[in-house]
């Protein structure tokens, strides 16, 4: 008598489940999984930097799977223009012209003005005096500076000749090297009893108390930037005002009134890389590329994140390790079943499983990042899946040796293949 279809499907599901779970609770599966992680820890603890010989490691040093979601999957493409922020392109204006720009901007009643420009030492006495007056006059003007360590290893703000004239200031340092992707910032930096605020933190203090307190609460720790908007020839997610149009009265006052006016250098042409940083929004997510985002747009993204309170939550490292252990355990059970019962297919099945798992877990990581703003480090899981196949061979030899020596109970038989 022919079996009905639902029984065929049921049988198929049972068979598939059996492939994964038959050896799941075997001691060998758990011990082999532990060996995978021992190898990861041991190899990771070798004090020699072997990465220099490894072009793949060097190439992927600054790589994050979630960057694909910006460059290839259109994350953030449809985010609306941020109506809290307006960027005024100061271009290469000198100090005198900057003073006019500040005055003109202030006349349109923005709630805060942030000037993302550093001023090294005195220059022309007249223009310096004009700019100094502007700094002194406008109490809602936030000046940019950089923190440095002094001889006592305490932090000091510097690189702004008008720092003492400004009512407020904030540092614009990012905790990455110049050629690395800008992913993090410190909301505040503490040195002794002094607390220095970040540029965006200072701006928020004047613009939105609630958002400011939420950001400051994160303290002197690295906060991941949730990039949501960009400025390219085809994406305009911040209102950018041209300084010549501003000075020629071609700007509607509603564009600035009550908003955060960020004064900084903007050039949307990809050929100009002055003041540009590498960000996860770069068109190339891996390999050699050119910087893609002006510093002021990075600050605008930080402000947007703080104002919309959409910070990225990061799964703690123990969580990533635990997740990786469970994933590896499941794979190990699957691999051992093929290793022992269908060895002729083992390598083919293992390679296919590795590729499919890599696609699945990268996709899962991207989905969690996009949908729940949860960043899970999937790298450990992928490394564990890749190593699992090789560790089975080692484990077989180890278990067989243990069996001979201490009568260790194992599913692996000596020279079974």
């Amino acid at each position: 008598m022919k079996k009905p279809l639902h029984k065929h499907i049921g049988q198929g599901v049972r068979n598939a489940r059996n492939h994964f779970t038959k050896y799941l609770y075997e001691r060998d599966t758990i011990f082999a999984t532990i060996w995978v992680f021992l190898f990861i820890v041991i190899l990771g603890s070798i004090p020699l930097n072997l990465g220099i010989m490894n072009p793949i490691k060097l190439g992927l040093k600054d790589f994050d799977f979630n960057d694909i979601s910006y460059s290839e999957l259109g994350k953030g493409n449809n985010n609306p223009i941020d109506s809290h922020i307006v960027i005024i392109n100061i271009s290469d204006s000198d100090r005198g012209k900057l003073s006019f720009i500040i005055e003109k901007t202030a006349s349109m009643n923005p709630k805060v003005i942030g000037l993302d420009a550093l001023f090294f030492g005195p220059k022309d006495a007249l223009t310096d005096s004009l700019l100094r007056q502007s700094f002194r006059k406008h109490k809602n003007l936030v000046a940019a500076a950089k923190y440095e360590e002094d001889s006592n290893r305490s932090l000091v703000l510097s690189m702004n000749h008008f720092l003492n004239d400004a009512a407020r200031s904030g540092y614009v340092n990012f905790p990455n090297k110049a050629l690395e992707t800008t992913r993090y910032f410190f909301p505040v930096k503490k040195t002794g009893d002094t607390i220095f605020p970040f540029f965006a933190t200072s701006i928020l203090q004047l613009y939105d108390e609630d958002c400011y307190h939420k950001l400051v609460k994160k303290g002197d720790t690295k906060v991941m930037i949730n990039y949501s908007r960009n400025l390219t020839p085809i994406r305009k997610q911040y209102q950018v005002l041209d300084v010549e149009q501003l000075l020629a009265d071609q700007i509607d006052s509603s564009a600035i009134q009550g908003k955060i006016a960020l004064l900084g250098y903007i050039n949307e042409s990809p050929d100009f890389i002055e003041d540009k940083k590498f960000t996860p929004m770069n068109e190339k997510f891996a390999g050699k590329s050119i910087p893609d985002m002006n510093g002021i747009v990075v600050h605008a993204n930080i402000l947007s994140m703080a104002l919309e309170k959409n910070y990225i939550k990061k799964l703690p490292s123990w969580g990533s390790w635990l997740f990786a252990f469970l994933v590896c355990w499941l794979h190990m059970s699957f691999f051992i079943r093929y290793y022992l019962e269908n060895h002729i297919w083992f390598h083919l099945v293992a390679k296919i499983a590795q590729v499919l798992s890599a696609i699945l877990f990268v996709g899962l990581g991207i989905h969690l990042f996009d949908e729940y703003r949860l960043k899970v480090d999937m790298k450990i899981s992928l490394i564990a899946i890749i190593m699992a196949v090789d560790v089975i061979y080692f484990y077989e030899a180890w278990a067989t040796w243990m069996h001979k020596k201490y009568n260790y109970r194992t599913v692996f038989k000596p020279h079974h293949h």
Partner: protein, 301 residues
């Protein structure tokens, strides 16, 4: 029967939603642009919010960029008066999820063919040109035209792109013994000049340099133009012709010669061979698409 009032309500609600007005942010403009609101015309100002009862007037040579509902951007460059309620379609944005795009991306990557040199000439044409350094100019000349070899007779355009909204461009031709003063200058309105326009000014067997700039500006980025003797060119074609397989159809041979001539920067001559391949075997999609692609790359109309 109970469903009827529900359906009427639903259709009314849907109708209301579709009739909801869009807001337009005047993101940027250049030239002479004005806005009309409640029959009052005023000069355009950046940052102004307009509703779909208004309209924008764009003068000749002007442009305006608007952002609809804070998300959909579009630019108007043609002169005219545009009521904003006509831009409903421009306000639509695609809403595909990142996860769905990931599946599409993985599938596209896994099924993408790497192709062969013959079927993807741009990916394999590896003798493109050199990097140039210096002041960034309003005119950009494709590195493919970095060196052009030309044997005469066939017309071919030298083209460029402009970042500026200019109406006139100047073409400069220099001899190899004096690259500071052009011996031929021409003002053109298009972004190209046919070689035929200045062919008679040159002598075969000599090297020349050329560049283009927005009228009144300068461009230091000089490109090489080798006017090759007929005999030199014939020798090259003969070498290429003899490299073919024993049994090569005329269209196949023409396509191969075209490909190798393009690689050797004989662009005008390569065009004639691509044309021949597509004419001899018009059913071949590759020959046709390559010819179209070549014409597009080098601005051949």
């Amino acid at each position: 029967m109970k469903k009827l009032p529900f359906l009427i309500l639903l259709s009314c609600f849907t109708g209301l939603l579709s009739a909801q007005s869009s807001s337009f942010l005047l993101y940027s403009f250049k030239g002479n642009v004005s806005v009309v609101e409640k029959n009052v015309e005023s000069k355009a100002k950046v940052g102004k919010m307009l509703n779909n009862a208004g309209s924008v007037k764009v003068a000749n040579g002007s442009a305006v960029t608007l952002i609809c509902n804070e998300a959909a951007m579009f630019t108007i460059t043609k002169p005219g008066t545009y009521p904003l309620n006509k831009f409903g379609d421009s306000c639509k944005i695609s809403n595909s999820s990142v996860s769905a795009n990931y599946v599409k991306y993985v599938w596209a990557q896994m099924t993408q063919s790497t192709g062969s040199p013959g079927s993807n000439r741009k990916a394999y044409m590896n003798t493109v040109g050199a990097v140039s350094r210096g002041d960034i100019n309003n005119v950009w000349i494709d590195p493919r035209l970095d060196t052009v070899n030309y044997s005469g007779g066939e017309d071919f355009p030298l083209s460029w792109k402009s970042y500026a909204d200019a109406k006139e461009f100047e073409f400069f031709l220099y001899s190899s013994d004096n690259i500071s003063e052009p011996f031929y200058k021409a003002t053109v309105s298009k972004l190209k000049i046919p070689v035929g326009d200045f062919e008679k000014k040159m002598k075969p067997g000599n090297t020349y340099y050329w560049t283009a700039a927005v009228k009144g500006e300068e461009n230091d980025d000089l490109k090489v133009f080798n006017y090759v003797n007929n005999s030199t060119y014939s020798q090259i074609v003969e070498v290429i012709r003899n490299q073919g397989a024993a049994f090569e159809a005329p269209a196949e041979q023409a396509y191969r010669i075209a490909f190798m001539l393009e690689d050797a920067h004989y662009l005008a001559e390569a065009y004639q061979y691509y044309l021949k391949a597509a004419t001899v075997d018009p059913a071949n999609v590759l020959y046709r698409s390559t010819l179209m692609s070549f014409k597009k790359d080098y601005e051949i109309k």
